[in-house]
Symmetry: none
Subunit: 191 residues, 4 copies
DNA sequence: CATGAATGAGGTTTCATTCAT
DNA sequence: GATGAATGAAACCTCATTCAT
């Protein structure tokens, strides 16, 4: 029934009607309400699904990392993997959620802050100042989100998104004065 | 009558009602429609106001720049000035517009792309590869937008936003291998 | 200022806005209300203008008639003259008034009944039964109104309307068993 | 749900509110929109209902007619039957539709023209000139519509309408020089 | 006399949600 | 569990009318 994400992805939250969702899912209106308490709840479930996926990947990645720099690198690529898994879902959550609803917005920011906080913590452990770390965390999340937004709109391949992330990684690593450890390549090898 | 931005800023586009706007403006419903063709038109006017402001600042700044690097630096700070002039307006356009309406979204991306394009052009002139320039442009816009989003939510001072921009400037300049010329300081002195 | 009839004629009563009327009259909204108490009042004034014209013509025509049959014939042609004088006004009153407003409708019927009553009275004097006279009166008014409606829509010439009236006159006169006295020709000659 | 015709009949198109209609139908506002796309659509459905009824009766009547004169006579009485079936509906369509809306008006004229055309065709076949036939068709439709309008306003019995039609038939048949075949009587006998 | 910005009641329409079947 | 007809609150927008200038 999560093919509601198709409708949200195409029309956005407010333009999407329950009717369109259930038609897309080939079921009746009432059936929708067996699985979701409300339209809002359905959207939140989609948000949670994406963020759950990503957070899980991040946490797994970090468990296997031995240095702060490795944690940073692996977290970074965990996000890429999570976002590029399902373009539609990513589009819904990253692009359609923002101005739709106070609750979505709040949750969206909470998760972006959480992602940023991982980076901030790692940067601190890598020796950067509190200010540099804090700003760097948000800047990095913003940069990633923007290229994902561009990628989602333009229907580029996963490969192109990965290249963009590599360049962002390069910029930030150099900017932060870190030696780049290319965890991404190792991830790819492992696959 | 643009104190409609107050209501949009507080409630977002869809939750904002014409009634709330006119009550906030101490006028009648019909009066609103003397100045705006529709609710959508009103919101677009706010978007155009902010973007007009910023674009004007950028273009002015670029006219006085002599090197690509200077253009890049001055454009960067023009955006800061434009965004920090009016927190409420910035919040409306950057945060509330995204998922509200297909038209807003499209216009929002168009402007973000336009901003990114300035950076891309300058980076190309500075000798970076097409790919690096393109990705760098979007990444930079994303980083700036993110810290503005954080700033807007947290009611920090303009000074704190400026510091964040300085750090972002530093990261990207180093990441791009450019020598930083600190146009911002000169701008500030000039004021 | 009665060029309000232009707007009513083009758009009908409800679709016509005061704004359109005053723009067409090159004056301000307030000025409209110096001459008419309300939109309804303005429309009623147009109705009264047309019916006043016609009624006056009828009464004049009847004063010069010596026999019931002559009264009938002359009344008949007075209506034609009145209606064909100003196509636009005729269109407004005959076509646009009907379903627009209870008051218009009531007045419209009152006048049609008044016209019919002239015919009824004359037919009675010509010896027809009460029933025949009553039905004949209404039928005749209806027939005339219909061809006027067709004429108004099709922008035919006055001559064509006159021909249609002649044929209607012929049908009814024969149907009523009256010898036709061709008062119309005499009217035309007099002009 | 076509008891919306009750409200249209009482108040006319513009004065009739959806609220009044649904209150009269003892249902909710939304329910109205389950069955009609809009207020206009609802009114058009009523128009089509009446005209569909009448047209069907006419076509049936004409199929069983053997001579042009018989077709003419039978068509004539088919209209009477159709109009007198439901006073309210007739009142809505014939009286309330005219000036209410450009679309209604256009459709109203189209149907009146269609009715007139039947008569015109038959008259041609009966040997009348093109001009006589054309004018006669419209005049006849107008005469019928007028007496129906009077009848609707005065709450007379069906019998009185039928008598009026008989007299109109008589006038036009004599006026056209046709021998009257009294198809109506046969219809009535057959019932 | 003339103006036209301001008014605000009231209309149509949408759509998330419910609940009897 | 599944259905979908019914609900009705609430939103946007129009436009005849007023009145201070």
């Amino acid at each position: 029934m999560q093919a509601a994400q198709r409708v949200f992805s195409q029309h956005g939250y407010h333009q999407a009607t329950i009717r369109a969702i259930v038609e897309s899912a080939n079921c009746a209106t009432g059936t929708f309400y067996l699985y979701f308490a409300s339209k809002e709840d359905c959207f939140l479930a989609l948000m949670d699904k994406l963020y759950g996926n990503i957070m899980e990947k991040i946490l797994t990645a970090r468990r296997h990392a031995e240095s702060p720099a490795e944690k940073l690198g692996r977290s970074f690529w965990a996000v890429v993997e999570g976002l590029s898994r399902d373009t539609e879902l990513t589009s819904v959550v990253l692009v359609r959620a923002a101005g739709a609803n106070a609750l979505f917005e709040e949750r969206l920011w909470r998760v972006r802050d959480a992602f940023a906080q991982f980076i901030v913590d790692d940067l601190r452990e890598c020796g950067l100042s509190a200010n540099q770390a804090r700003i760097g965390g948000h800047a990095c999340v913003g940069a990633l989100a923007e290229v994902v937004g561009v990628w989602v709109r333009s229907d580029q391949s996963d490969q192109e998104l990965a290249e963009a992330f590599e360049e962002i990684e390069r910029i930030f690593w150099v900017g932060w004065g870190l030696t780049q450890l290319r965890y991404r390549n190792q991830d790819q090898d492992g696959k």
